[in-house]
């Protein structure tokens, strides 16, 4: 580092102040409630090479630490003072990760020389495309996800590019809101430019340039110091999304984490081929792509909250991202719901690190609850109402330090809910229950945090519920070191009635007047053997209605009679539990255990090896056909044998002669 350590700290504070000022200018002037309430935006200062070195401390989306603009920057031929560039194309430069994210950047010059960029993005509520809000899991091509603008100048030397703006606004559903938010972001860019000039005046241009690089180096060295504390080794973990498409097969993310001294490799070979649904994560194969690094940033920051959060943090780490996979899809795969994929990437990373640092990290975070939107009609006014009901959230996993937080936490801690009273006043629905879901937390010496649960009734025909990001019915948050998995998420229509319907992972459903809907997320995983949880604590959980009397007995071996513990029965039951306990590190749901009995790591290796032989556009289809054949040919509780896989593959080729041509075009 070339700037002295005292000046560097002062410089860091001034750069942070500039980023904070930009963020607050944006928050104060953004038009859409969405930007202000969900804080789904980023803002920062970026080196000429595209590396973000300063950003606000606690404002904005938590997923974009050290966002790398390098590729996007290079897609503009020439920069001039007053230019502001824009892109929202997930396939041009791989800074934008789905079409609603509108990214802007502005070059800052000093004495005619480019010294940095100021940059940021906002999530627009809608950018056109097949569905309102532009996002749905069912979409299969990025073309359906709204207008895409490759890197282009929105302002040229300070002049608005009206043509570009008109094209953009013609293609969206709420043009005024988009333009209002864009103006606010552009104003934040101008504020940032002014603040950069102030910093240059105070510190000099050389210190500014060197200081920016030094801050990246500083974060890198801090990260290396943290990584050094992590025991060297290879840590494998796989996690799944319940469905790779509407009603489809599981989607698998597999990670081989290699820690070597101060460096980390994340090898995603073994993850599923890209999907014909929009859960893919558009990384362009960038080995430090920001979405692939969120989990690492969480882990590093949790281990050392004094680290600077900038692009330097991830420099000593890299990913292996096979082309044509979920984590590196080929154009034009849909990517709109990459948030679901990214959340699963994170849980996979947490699972791998938990093996390396079991005393410090947590069991699987709860989740799988949706962002819930209701479109209905107010019977009194006849007005059509569309409202975001609360995100249905769940608590953190347990850890050596204690129980997971209830209702929310870990990597979902940024969520905010909508109060029951606001929902009822704004939307013609009645909420029958909003509470923590009893027994939902994974049992453990330290219990997983409970999930929230909401039950509500609608009163108008053609009421449409959109439940984005539904997951974790089958593959639930895992426990560690003897802790149990969290309970499944639920989405049930008319629970307890004679017309109850399990909606599973459905993401859009139309309901009728009088219908009652219950949604519950999946609870966090537990830590440590549940029979070691002090019985008094379990009794306390029963009194808090966090655990039922039956749950106490079944999951914790604590027998409660009346309001007290039956010590003798408890000791007996607990001894049985301890005796029957296996030695595995992870505690998975019965559904996952059953699934992995058939689809072992070995079976997956074979499967991916076969799919790897096929052209990318065949793989998703082929995966489904092979699954069909293998699941028909393999009995419950049996591994998918090599022969079954070979037969399935042969059958696929036999039924699809075109595939043979594609494999060997010469023939």
């Amino acid at each position: 580092m070339s700037v002295d350590n005292v000046t560097l700290q002062i410089f860091a504070n001034h750069c942070s102040a500039a980023a904070e000022t930009m963020a607050r200018t944006l928050l104060r002037t953004a038009h859409s409630t969405f930007v202000r309430e969900s804080e789904d935006f980023t803002i920062g200062i970026v080196t000429p090479a595209g590396k973000t070195f300063a950003s606000p401390f606690a404002l904005g989306a938590t997923w974009f630490v050290g966002l790398d603009y390098a590729n996007a920057l290079s897609l503009i031929d020439e920069y001039h003072e007053g230019d502001i560039c824009l892109t929202n194309d997930p396939y041009s430069g791989f800074v934008c990760t789905h079409s609603p994210d509108m990214h802007l950047w502005k070059p800052v010059f000093h004495g005619g020389e480019l010294i940095c960029f100021v940059a940021g993005h906002i999530h627009n509520t809608d950018v056109g495309g097949a569905v309102p809000a532009s996002l749905s899991r069912t979409l299969t091509e990025v073309h359906q996800e709204g207008i895409r603008i490759p890197p282009a100048k929105l302002y040229r030397r300070g002049e608005l590019n009206e043509e570009l703006l008109r094209i953009l606004l013609t293609n969206v559903r709420m043009p005024e809101q988009n333009w209002g938010d864009l103006k606010a972001l552009a104003a934040a860019m101008n504020t940032g430019e002014r603040k950069v000039h102030e910093i240059v005046r105070r510190f000099g241009v050389d210190t500014f340039r060197e200081g920016a690089e030094d801050l990246l180096d500083y974060a890198e060295r801090q990260a290396r110091n943290v990584i050094r504390r992590i025991p060297d080794g290879e840590y494998f973990f796989a996690d799944y999304m319940d469905e790779d498409s509407d009603g489809g097969y599981p989607a698998r993310i597999a990670l081989n984490l290699v820690v070597d001294g101060e460096e980390i490799t994340f090898d995603y070979s073994g993850s599923d081929p890209q999907l014909a649904s929009s859960i893919n994560i558009p990384t362009g194969g960038d080995e430090r792509h920001v979405l692939m690094m969120v989990g690492l940033v969480y882990v590093l920051y949790t281990l050392d909250p004094t680290i600077l959060r900038n692009a330097g943090l991830t420099r000593s780490s890299r990913c292996v991202l096979p082309e044509g996979s979920i984590v590196n899809p080929r154009f034009p795969a849909a990517v709109g719901m990459r948030s679901l994929g990214t959340v699963r990437i994170m849980s996979t990373i947490f699972g791998a690190f938990a093996q390396a640092l079991p005393d410090e990290l947590q069991a699987g975070p709860g989740g799988g609850g949706p962002l819930l939107n209701v479109r209905t009609t107010d019977n009194r006014t006849g007005r059509r109402v569309m409202a975001n009901i609360s995100p249905i959230t769940a608590g953190a996993g347990g850890s050596a330090a204690g129980d997971g937080t209830e209702g929310n936490g870990a990597n979902q801690a940024f969520f905010k809910n909508t109060p029951v009273e606001i929902n009822e006043a704004e939307t013609p629905i009645r909420i029958l229950e909003y509470s923590l879901s009893r027994d939902s937390g994974g049992a453990g010496r330290c219990r997983g945090g409970l999930a929230t649960s909401m039950t509500f009734q609608v009163f108008s025909p053609h009421t449409v519920l959109t439940a984005r990001n539904r997951d974790r019915v089958r593959f639930t948050p895992w426990g560690i070191r003897g802790g149990a998995a969290g309970k499944s998420s639920e989405f049930v229509l008319n629970p307890g009635s004679n017309h109850e319907v399990d909606l599973g992972n459905t993401d859009v459903v139309t309901v009728d007047p009088g219908d009652i809907v219950r949604i519950t997320a999946a609870g966090g995983g537990g830590y440590g053997p549940p029979e070691e949880r002090p019985a008094e604590q379990v009794l306390g959980d029963v009194r808090r209605i966090f655990v039922s009397v039956e749950g106490a007995q079944r999951d914790y071996g604590v027998v409660i009679r009346g309001d007290s513990i039956d010590a003798e029965a408890t000791a007996r039951r607990r001894a049985e539990m301890a005796a029957g306990r296996g030695s595995g590190f992870f505690g998975h749901s019965a559904a996952r255990v059953a699934y992995e009995t058939r689809w072992t790591r070995r079976a997956y290796l074979r499967l991916h090896e076969m799919l790897g032989r096929l052209p990318v556009h065949w793989r998703f289809y082929a995966k489904h056909r092979i699954f069909e054949s293998v699941e028909a040919a393999t009995a419950e509780g049996e591994e998918a044998a090599d022969e079954a896989l070979e037969q399935a593959y042969a059958r696929l080729l036999a039924l699809n002669p075109e595939l043979g041509n594609a494999l060997d075009p010469v023939r």
Binding site: N5, N13, H14, T25, T302, F414, V420, I422, S435
Partner: protein, 686 residues
Amino acid sequence: MADPETRYRVGVDIGGTFTDFCAFDEHTKQVHALKVLSTPETPGREVIEGLRQLEERFSVSPPEIAYFTHGTTVGVNTVLQKKGIRLCLFATEHFVDVLEIGRLKMPDPYNLKSRRPDPLVPKERVIPVRERMRSDGDAEAPVDEKSVAEAVERARALGAEGIVVALINAYRNPAHEREVAALVRRLAPELPVFCSSEVWSIVREYERTVTAVIHGYVQPRVSRYLGSLQEALRDAGVPAQALVTKSNGGVMSAEQGRKDCAQMILSGTAAGVIGASHVAGLSGYPNAISFDVGGTSADVAFIRGGEPQYGIGEMIGGYPIYIPSVSVTSIGAGGGSIAWMDELGVLKVGPESAGANPGPACYGRGGDRATLTDAFAVLGYVGQVDIGYRAVRIDVEAARRAVGTLAAPLGMSVEEAADSILRIAVSGMYLEVSKLMSAYGVDPRDHALLAFGGAGPMTACFLAEELGLRDVVVPATPGVLSALGGLIADLKNDFIKTVYLDLEASAAPSIREEFAALRERGARWLRDEQGYEGEPHYACSADMRYRGQSFEVETELDAAAIEADDVDSFADAFHAAHQRLYYHSDPGAPVQVINLRLVAVGRTPKPGFAPEAEREGGAEPERRIPVYAGGARRQVPLFLRHRLRPGDRIQGPAVVAQEDTTLCVADGFTGRVDGYRNLLLHREGE
């Protein structure tokens, strides 16, 4: 001239460590100030001690005290130290996790282990009652008396010392809460009961519930405390009825405070800002940033047009409280902030603080880690004269030793290291204050920095330079601004009615009627509860928003327009307020009125501060002292504050020492003592 019986007005602010006294003499128009040690164990004793000293040192005799205001941290401390009563919460069945769930968001969302503090009422003491009120105010299900009886029984079994009743949609219709409360009073007359709709009736169940819980949690203790204070005053022969300062910057009778203690949680802090805005106004700065720096933290507040900014949702020990309050933001930087080096050798200051105990190394109370105050001691600013009523002797050598432990690894001289600590601390303050400035849209060029507290005047000039401010004001009595603020404050109470209406012509009559009802409540409060006989003043406002927004903008409404049912003018006022705050508005969009609000004010007689004539010519320095600045030791003049007279001028660099703080006048600043003995520092801009 006032008669002898009404000669003195006394303001007292009881803090954790010190209790400040401010006595205004109506005869001489002089303010006397002093500090005594607080006695949290025996509340009231410090007041007696302070009154004794006022009499001894300034001949203020208790029977001549005609006006007595008082701010206290007893409410806040009850929350911070978790010493409130054992509460049970009665909540609507199926919504009993309202405190656990909160609004979901965790304090530090980047940290996987971030958590909120445990609720003040743990879940095992949250008891469901069966009832349901709808959002339109009609009962969906009546109160099930049996469930209340069971709840009371359980509360007793759990050893409850008080009950909070907070039911869904009570903001719309409090009937169920009242019914439940009445049942509780009948079944368990020994238990105090608090209803969420009576503490502060806002929409949003978590916000209303957590506010009622904080209220109930502190109420018995605050009430006891105020009772013993009233008694102590009577015993001391003070004829004045005690008033207490409120979070909203006003005052109310101590008797009222015993009931409405949620209103006085931020008592002392708010009064400090009132005092600050008064001083800034007198000195000709209607726009100011109030900067109160203590040992561990700095309180920042914005004053615009002579008025503090108000808000809701202030944090107390990690819990938000939704009572209209003077907006004060606490940042983790103070005189006791500890300097340290991270493992990469980068120097940091704070947020860890040496606090009052052991305090900075130079206080000689066992602290050995370098703090910001130690840096000032090494540089030569602090330690030139004894700090009088703090009874602290500055041990410069101890400061040098502490700073020296950092200097060696930094490869610097002790002075350079101290200078680095100062610059890093100031840049950290700059970061935090500039965040607030951009959030409020404050233009630095027309604001002054009003610095007080022990460490405020030390850092003020340096911070002003970073922030681009031209003016710094150091009040004549920087140590007792909260006590002073209490003397300035008016009787003031907030009233709210949640209406949740679409802003249409048809809504006008009910808005008019609701305001009339609020005005009636305001009049009763002033007349019957405060015994106020003067002209009442009312300010009407409404919390409005565009349909679909999830937050409201408080919009002032004109009383005549309310009478005239002029809803268009309400909408215009809202569009204008929205434009002012967010730089855009949407005059075509539908507007909702969520709350109607009324502030009832009874103006109290103000101390008649009169400016003294300014004398010509510069002040004589006490002596010259060696101060390390700009890379070298130089001789700079040292002034004693109590010797400075109106009109005196000072040229930076200089040091002004006074009993409770030291002012560093940086190079480039020129100072003048104004007619109120406030020190005004100014620097020319670039």
